[in-house]
């Protein structure tokens, strides 16, 4: 079944963690952006996107992530990703997202890395 897209949001210390489930297309991207804006309004500057349960992304979904990145950079925040499928990591590399965001293998490593960072 093409699962309907969902995002779980939680806070781990200073880091907002968004776990996505499903295809990151226009609908998925928009949902992530909404959840992000809610968290952002709540305060915080560190945002981790756990994409472990999203096997595919498309360029429309990606455009929402750039929108989010712009918002995060505006407030000197940090954006990170983890559990990326190889094809998603490749997509981010092609776009140059890695200049602005870090990709960690796991949530655990991401949280460790992001807590340390200023």
């Amino acid at each position: 079944m093409l699962d309907s897209f969902t995002v779980d949001t939680r806070r781990e210390g200073p880091v907002w963690v968004f776990s996505t489930h499903g295809y990151i297309n226009n609908v998925g991207g928009e949902t992530i952006a909404k959840r992000f804006e809610e968290a952002h309004a709540d305060g915080g500057s560190k945002y981790l996107f756990d994409l472990g349960d999203s096997k595919i992304i498309n360029s429309i979904g990606v455009s929402f992530l750039i929108e989010i990145l712009e918002r995060i950079l505006e407030t000197n925040g940090t954006m990170a990703f983890c559990n990326c499928a190889p094809i998603i990591e490749k997509t981010f590399k092609i776009m140059g997202i890695m200049q602005y965001a870090t990709i960690y293998p796991t949530v655990k490593e991401a949280l460790a890395g992001m807590r340390e960072a200023v």
């Binding site: 295809y23 498309n58 429309i60 455009s63 190889p86 094809i87 490749k90 092609i94 776009m95």
Partner: protein, 148 residues
């Protein structure tokens, strides 16, 4: 023991799969999955298989979104050869001039008010070994190749 399948030899020339999909949300996934299956059958590795699938998904989305074709269909041919997989995608839309499409630039895009779209062609080009586009008032033909 059991008889194996009969008569499944074939001339190289028939290794062509045709797929026509309607321009309906999520249908690009059907195209992507067919691409995956074709790539698997020709033993492309997992990374290349995913790349081919994503490139085709992007090509479909472009036709869905930009072609304004009246028949609302995308025509796809997979041509399997020993050395490579060729995917030819056609729509009967209004076409565009690939030369005049601006290359996406993330740094520029991160400025406020700038449109974040425009990654489809770049991703298709990067995921495949070659990408050529013929486009005119009769529609668009995208030809993509992936080496084994």
């Amino acid at each position: 023991m059991n008889s194996a399948r009969e008569d499944i030899t074939h001339p190289e020339s028939v290794k062509e799969i045709n797929l026509t999909i309607p321009m309906i949300p999520d249908m690009e996934i059907a195209a992507g999955k067919t691409a995956e299956a074709v790539a698997e059958v020709m033993n492309l590795d997992e990374d290349k298989t995913a790349e081919v699938s994503m490139a085709l998904i992007e090509a479909c989305l472009n036709s869905f979104e930009h072609s304004h074709s009246e028949d609302r269909k995308v025509y796809i041919t997979f041509r399997v050869e020993d050395s490579e997989l060729t995917i030819i995608l056609r729509d009967k839309g209004s076409g565009f001039d690939p030369e005049s499409v601006e290359k996406p630039d993330l740094e520029r895009m991160l400025r406020p008010g700038i449109r974040k779209r425009g990654w489809g062609l770049k991703l298709m080009e990067s995921m495949m070994d070659s990408l050529t586009i013929e486009s005119g008032p009769g529609g668009t033909v995208v030809t993509m190749k992936k080496k084994r």
